[in-house]
Amino acid sequence: MSAVLPAIARPRREPRPPRRLPLARLSLQLLSLGACLLLWQLACAWRLHLGFITFANTPAPAEVLEAAIKLAQSPKLWPHLSSSLLRVGTGFGLAAILGVTLGLLIGRIPLANKLLLPPLEVLRPIPAVAWIPLSILMFPSSEGSMIYITFVGALFPILLNTIHGVEAVDMRLIASARGLGTKGWRLFTEVIAPGAAPSIVTGLSIGMGTCWFCLVTAEMIAGQYGIGYYTWESYTVQAYPNIVVGMLVIGALGMGSSALINWAGARLMPWHRTQGGRR
């Protein structure tokens, strides 16, 4: 017997038109950035002093560029970068594993919600930076305390977004999955985890941001290598241009790691990207 209904025509996807560079917008953006740099350079050159703010001691863009080139050629760059990346990687990794696991349990199982949420709710309003003194007492190695600070910073955004994602999974999808024979832990792997995935990725992305924030603060207090330590050390040894180089490197690392998470999220959830319809 043939098909019950004549088949609907296959979807045809039109090739995308080649993208043109938005030259006008791009040149405006470059112009605006250039103007900022110019103002900065002028303020430093004139040693602008406005009473409440002064540019008398700040490094100028040209000096910063010079310092950046020097750092790029220095053998110390890699130890600074690698120790910071290792700390963020470890702290963030632990926070991601624990945050997502706890979030899935708390969001779905009422008993876990009642047992686990109260202590977490007490700890949540405490900023990660406030943990610094206690963490120095708790961890014999300064490495441990710094990783702990980054871990605390990343944990709560990941945990809360995971809980929210789980609670927002459509009840009808769960009912439907059960009606199709889903039992036990497979409800987690087949429905709840993928349903909460977009929210989890948002949490990971925010957590990565706070991770860098906490790491830099922690490194300023206790550290020998690391990009936060480098920035603070530059201040104490009065190598002022290096401060700005350190700031820019931190910004770039934070932006890069968040972009990495968003990219990985989009790769893992092709269905989410198509939400607005294919065009």
């Binding site: 017997m1 098909a3 019950v4 209904l5 004549p6 088949a7 609907i8 025509a9 296959r10 979807p11 459509d170 009808r172 999808l173 009912a175 439907s176 999955a177 059960r178 009606g179 199709l180 024979g181 889903t182 039992k183 497979r186 087949e190 429905v191 993928p194 349903g195 995935a197 959830m269 092709p270 269905w271 989410h272 198509t274 939400q275 319809g277 294919r278």
Partner: protein, 286 residues
Amino acid sequence: MTETTAEGGRISVEHLSIELGEGPSRFEVLRDLSVTIAPGEFVCLLGPSGCGKSTLLGALAGHLSPSHGRVSLDGEAITGPDPDRGLVFQQHTLFPWKTVVDNVGYGLKMKGVPRAEREQRAHELLQLVGLAGFERCYPRELSGGMQQRVEIARVLINHPRVLLMDEPFGALDALTRSRMQEMLLALWTRMRTTVVFVTHDIDEALFLADRVLVIGPRPGRIVEELRPGFDRPRSAALLTDPAFVQLKRRCLALLREDGHAPPLERLSPLGPPPPGDDKRKWRFAN
């Protein structure tokens, strides 16, 4: 394609009462409802919104448990959802993160069927509902009618003894709806599974069903039982047949009998209308 004659599928509902809500807002949706549905029968539950017909369907699906009475399929009491009783919702419940073929094959995955066989059988069912070629699409990329076809295919892959449908075509435009009705009848002719179909559309009920159960509101009970014995296969031309129109008139009269009762609140997914409408009117009136 394997021809399946679903074995069994006899539904029996005995003195069913269902109460919903918590504490003081608890109310009786269904009271002392009894009905038997024969294997392979196509039954429509017809009634105004809020009358409890979807609640009865929920009890048959196993998502709602009776306060009193008993619901059973082929003699076994219904205690929870099961692939043997496939439920189709008004708005599709396809998994947005799975492609069409993975959605349809989902029930087999839960049974541990290997991937190649799953895809093969999903493909056969998609062909049956006229969606061959859309295997790799995500649900979002399909129109409402196509999504419901996938939803029906996903339920049918489990060879359910009973197909439960809760206004499955209610959200579709009139033309798509009438095509879907014909498709459903064609599928039912092949599969011969028992169908319980909830609707508030008189035309739809009379067009599809062997037997129409008219349900009256609060507490829900069966008011009347009609047997539109029109010849099968039925086509859309039936809708203007004099006998059909006569039966429809009777249904209308039955549904209007309760017209003096206050209209039942309908819980909208969007909640009450936003405040401020009156204010704007008042300003214009000045």
